[in-house]
Symmetry: C2
Subunit: 372 residues, 2 copies
């Protein structure tokens, strides 16, 4: 019988764990938890966990509380579901003692200082004491390289988002507010069957486009100014992330030039992707074009980031980091030029690294190329 | 000249800090940051902070990066905005050294183990070394008691939510899906001018209502079964949170009885609120009624929680905690009875503690009382 994808992932994780000092893993970060177990619950507030995984060579537990027991059993078929009555810190230590854990790997980049301290204190009290060891990146590393089913889902997510954006852009009219347009995107996302938005949509017109993380305002869009759409939906957990910049009517000569430079940098980077290349080198391909055009100081962020169960995950495509690109990695290529007080142009595609080069997952909106 | 509310809050914080061992505070938790500074940015992912406050007796800094500089200056007028180029861990230590910080208070319940460790390592390297001291609850404590402007905003938020829910309930028809109804709530929220939902709406019909945290599904609602709506919007940052359970047509005798018990427990608790009473005692008022009716084992959660800039904050109204209720506290009173496989009834009001008793902030939906 074929193993479920989750059983396979637990198997890989156990092998990876065998090379570390930890004999048991505690997984509480929501995307890691979902990736390994299939448990779909999200944590609505940082300090309110809906569950943790505890994995050692023999056992795979999903510990949760009565609010989530029924979903947990349905979602995480390869896990034994344990319903806590009092809380993580109160009950997990005894479970670990029963499993004869000696060293517990935990997510140091996610678990709060306070939670770690409380847990460590309880674990030290056992005899022999249970040690805690930060073990970040194990699952994040697995998540960076997508399998075929994941790529298929992300492509569906990207196609759906593209169709929505095409519809929205086709109906743009000067005088509509950014907020109103953002709302329309969200409505269409739900109507299309998405789980929801992957992140709050950015609809940033005119000077607002100079803020890479602008929040949609009551400003009315106008003809000839750049309007930045940075949008994404989530489909069965998987995110897509894409950005288009459009003009109603003719762009001003300055913004036409800027658009041209951004698009040129983006296309060069997409064409440059090769498995085995360094991500910092890829960032450099786009950055150099923007710098040579004299806009270097107006491109302040990295070229891109991985996308998957989280909108932002590995690999980072940045001048400061150099990850080796691998077949199956999915990331964005999103150069931008931002002129304070005037506006910005950002263009973002999501690509998957193939055997030889990049393949585009986001394909909509190519009719809106204002660089010609 | 009148001080801004943020200047006042910084003043209170400085006084509170004077009673601790810390001479400087580092505030990164988004709601705390907004409460103290007015900076509205949200953090889209846990590991991606849009800014931190650094407060000592003389200085009030908002350190952020270029993505947020413009918003920061606009929102946080009483703060000096510092734009980081490299990152928190790389640059905050030098800022603290310049401020002659000796002991840095930080949010141990929010800062990750890893971030604390990296920061502490850098801070130890100075001479004299800068120490880190967890200081949770200072701002959370201030946030528990709302001022008049906050109560007014929460009341507006609650009234808006109530009007939306009334509209939605008036149009309910057997055969519509939970998902579709949840979408309608979200659309109306945006149309009403809310910032957005405070949390993903719960629309849980029939057996789904037995899951206190159900996610809206494609299940079609039916006549005579309980349908739980747990919904909230955010208005200028302030959340509301309310729950109604309704029946299309006549409830079954069993659920009529359950509804009656839940409503009785809720009204008794609302009437019992007094400044100075213990929150655990208030929980007990409702819990005893449910227990005496024979449903004790089907009410597994606490009676309520504080609401404000976060949907869930202090004070907790729970059997396990005993906070003293104070005038100006805003919290929910939300007893529920959940019958696995059959359905649930939860009723939730948001109240503010007045000089003598509770005042309801959520007032809609009283026409839907099925206990008579």
């Amino acid at each position: 019988m074929k193993q479920s994808i989750f059983k396979q992932r637990v198997g890989i994780l156990r092998k990876e764990m065998a090379g570390t000092k930890a004999d048991t893993l505690w997984i509480i970060q929501p995307e890691n938890r979902r990736y390994v177990s299939g448990f779909k619950a999200v944590d609505t507030q940082l300090n309110e966990s809906s569950g943790s995984l505890i994995i050692n060579p023999e056992n795979a537990l999903l510990v949760t509380d009565s609010r989530y027991t029924i979903e947990a059993i349905k979602d995480a078929r390869d896990f034994e579901v344990v319903t806590l009555k009092k809380g993580l810190v109160e009950e997990i230590p005894a479970i670990l003692a029963r499993l004869k854990t000696k060293v517990l790997g935990f997510e140091g980049g996610y678990v709060s200082w306070d939670l770690q301290r409380k847990m460590a204190k309880k674990l030290r009290a056992f005899s022999p004491a249970i040690r805690m060891l930060p073990m970040d990146g194990l699952i994040e590393g697995m998540r960076e390289v997508k399998d075929r089913a994941e790529i298929r889902m992300m492509e569906r997510s990207a196609v759906m988002m593209g169709e929505i954006l095409d519809q929205v852009i086709a109906k743009l009219q000067p005088g509509r507010t950014e907020k109103d347009i953002a709302r329309q995107i969200e409505e269409l996302a739900y109507a299309s069957g998405a789980d929801g938005l992957a992140f709050p949509s950015i609809v940033a017109s005119g000077p607002n486009g100079a803020l890479p993380h602008a929040v949609p305002s009551k400003r009315k869009i106008r003809a000839s100014e750049p309007i930045v759409f940075d949008v994404g939906i989530r489909l069965q957990g998987y995110c897509c992330d894409m950005t288009r910049t459009v003009f109603l009517g003719r762009p001003t000569p300055k913004f036409k030039e800027i658009y041209h430079v951004v698009r040129k940098a983006q296309l060069a980077a997409i064409r440059a992707v090769r498995p085995g290349m360094k991500s910092s080198q890829l960032d450099g391909v786009a950055r150099e074009i923007i710098q040579n055009a004299g806009f270097g100081e107006f491109f302040g962020h990295s070229l891109g980031h991985g996308v998957g169960l989280a909108t932002h995950e590995g690999p980072r495509i940045s001048p400061l980091q150099s990850v080796r690109l691998e077949e199956g990695m999915v990331f964005t290529i999103e150069p931008g030029i931002y002129i304070p007080g005037k506006g910005g142009v950002r263009l973002e595609e999501m690509v998957v690294v193939g055997k030889h080069r990049a393949r585009l997952l986001t394909r909509a909106g190519h009719i809106y190329d204002f660089s010609q």
